[in-house]
């Protein structure tokens, strides 16, 4: 319920020095809070090391993805990328029963539909819980929070059986619907949007909208939605990353079909009798690139979403 301190979260890099408080009374280092103490040489060295360890496996993936088979047997390990990326990738795309190209399209469809739907349904529900009065709102909100704590992976067997009974030939298993529909809403999303709307939309604004005769949906469109754009960006990015990377349920319901998501296709690529890691990692790299781009573009929002989530929970 605490309103997070936006100044400390996701401050632009250039703003850092100005963020130091003016009341530097004591010269002693330990008199300041840690976040006001300038980082020393060792802090930078250790953080740099952490960064290298974080990026190394991703870089290594690229090195192998661009190399020949021989690169895997080099000692010491090959450090620079080779020039075989196009060839490796072409092989991945041409593999008969992996459906790699289709899988990328499927992943884009799944993640996009889920993200758009989560943003819409969670923001309207969050709006209702934050700003509208209705009987049972409190208990219903408690239910939303409770559902956050139940790992729904535990109902996975029953979910599979349920999908088999849904309308359509042979049920929904093996079709993208089985992956998309359960992801259309998220308890975290409702909770997150509610928290944000509570703080971001003043009650008076909604009241004045009511006085002007605006309907609830009208208020949502013209007052709430513009005010919650930052939260939508955060939730959208987290949802997209989550659904893109989802593996267990897609494997169960889409495994062995012609409609895998890219994660399932990677699994197929790494299975079988004749596995070539330059191919496997070329595929893995292609499936990773969209998310690295997202992190590059929206990293600040993702960091903010994760950090706000921590303080609020």
């Amino acid at each position: 319920m605490t309103t997070t301190t936006d100044t400390h979260v996701a401050a632009p890099p250039g703003a850092d020095p100005g963020q130091a408080p003016r009341h530097k009374v004591r010269p002693s280092m330990s008199g300041r809070a840690p976040q006001d103490t300038p980082a020393g040489k060792w802090t930078y060295i250790l953080l740099g090391l952490t960064f290298l360890l974080s990026i190394y496996p991703i870089y290594w993936m690229f090195v192998i993805a661009t190399s020949t088979d021989a690169a895997l047997a080099e000692i010491p390990p090959k450090f620079l990328p080779g020039g075989e990326f196009a060839r490796n990738l072409a092989e991945v795309f041409s593999l008969q029963d992996v459906y790699f190209a289709e899988s990328l399209v499927n992943s884009v469809i799944v993640s996009t539909v889920i993200t758009v739907s989560v943003l819409f349904f969670c923001s309207v529900a969050g709006f209702a819980f934050a700003k509208l009065r209705f009987r049972g709102s409190r208990i219903l909100m408690v239910m939303v929070i409770l559902t956050l704590t139940v790992p729904n992976q535990l109902g996975i067997v029953a979910l599979y059986i349920l999908m088999g009974y849904l309308p359509g030939e042979g049920g929904w298993n093996g079709s993208l619907l089985a992956v998309i529909v359960p992801g259309l809403v998220s308890a975290f999303g409702v909770f997150y949007m509610r928290q944000f709307i509570l703080g971001a939309v003043p009650d008076e604004l909604i009241e004045s909208g009511r006085v002007d005769g605006a309907t609830t949906m009208r208020i949502y469109w013209s007052i709430v939605l513009p005010a919650v754009r930052p939260a939508l960006a955060v939730l959208g990015l987290l949802t997209f990353v989550g659904s893109w990377n989802d593996f267990q349920w897609p494997l169960i319901t889409l495994g062995g079909t012609d409609y895998p998501t890219s994660m399932v296709a990677l699994f197929d690529l790494a299975s079988g009798n004749y596995v070539l890691y330059r191919r496997v990692l070329a595929g893995a790299f292609v499936a990773t690139v969209p998310l690295i781009i997202l992190l590059f573009v929206g990293g600040r929002q993702i960091v903010r979403g994760i950090m706000e989530g921590a303080v609020k929970s």
Binding site: T4, H8, R26, S28, R32, P34, Q35, D36, A39, G40, T43, L47, T50, F51, S54, W60, L72, P76, P77, F121, A128, R133, S137, L140, M143, T147, P151, N152, Q153, L154, G155, V157, A158, I161, L162, P182, T215, M217, V241, N245, Q248, I252, G255, F267, A270, S271, Y277, L281, A284, F285, A287, T288, G299, R300, I302, V303, I306, A310, V311, S313
Partner: protein, 307 residues
Amino acid sequence: MRGLSHRLHRFDVKQMPYVLIAPFFILFAIFGLFPLIFNGVVALRTWRLDDPAQDGWAGLANFEKLLTDEDFWNALYNTFGIFVLSTVPQLFLALCVAFLLNRRLRGQTWFRVSMLLPYITPLTASTLVFLVVFGRDYGVANWVLSVFGMDDPIDWRAGKLQSWVAIATMVNWKWIGYNALLYLSAMQTIPRDIYEASALDGATSWKQLWRITVPMILPVVIFTVVLSTIGGLQLFTEPMLLDANPASASGGSNGEWQTIAQLIYKVGWKNLNLGYAAAMSWALFLIIVVVAVVNTLVTNRLGGGKR
């Protein structure tokens, strides 16, 4: 006409809120809550994917079978082994990284964002990379060890401890940065004057870390302990893909690193015995609840003791 618009207005005020929250509750009831309950029913039946005719009540037979199933106990043992090897270093190192990040840094946003590289990398992709890194003959891990003088190459898939360490490394790599950001955000809400007061008492920054920072962020530490318990006990992707033949879901030639989530997949979708898989899911659920509660209590005790 007035009557109609009046009724519309009443609907808008009275019923519209329910319309807005309905999609969430309907979808959750069908695809979240129902499977969870229905899972209990399936667990009490023989439910075979290959032979629907066999379907019938089994009573507690599935649960009885569980008690004497060596595969289950082996998987439980592996799951806990990997869980300990991944959670403890993960949270400790996350605390260290958060401590480093909790300074006035040049390029602060850049550092924070870069900590999330492992988090956004698809788990399947990173696991496949680590598969190569932990190769016996030419893997980078063995090469690094040889640089430090360990010339005997480790066969990472040959035994329990090696394979657990390999999997734990993947888990740690993925989650340290994420947890560090959670800790960092809690650290930054600690009021500055607490540090100032303790500095007056002559506390060094090392003392401040253990006497102020850690106790103050304890709620978030507990939160991460619960999160990593829930996640760690359901480990699936890493053990699946470490296998030479991932589709077998066997977790090594002798089940060296087969986890419970993986065994559930194998029993349900390789052996086609959904009833038994459902019973296993329930067992896993109970185990998670118990471990999460115990871990919360222990963390609380340990953190509180530092005060």
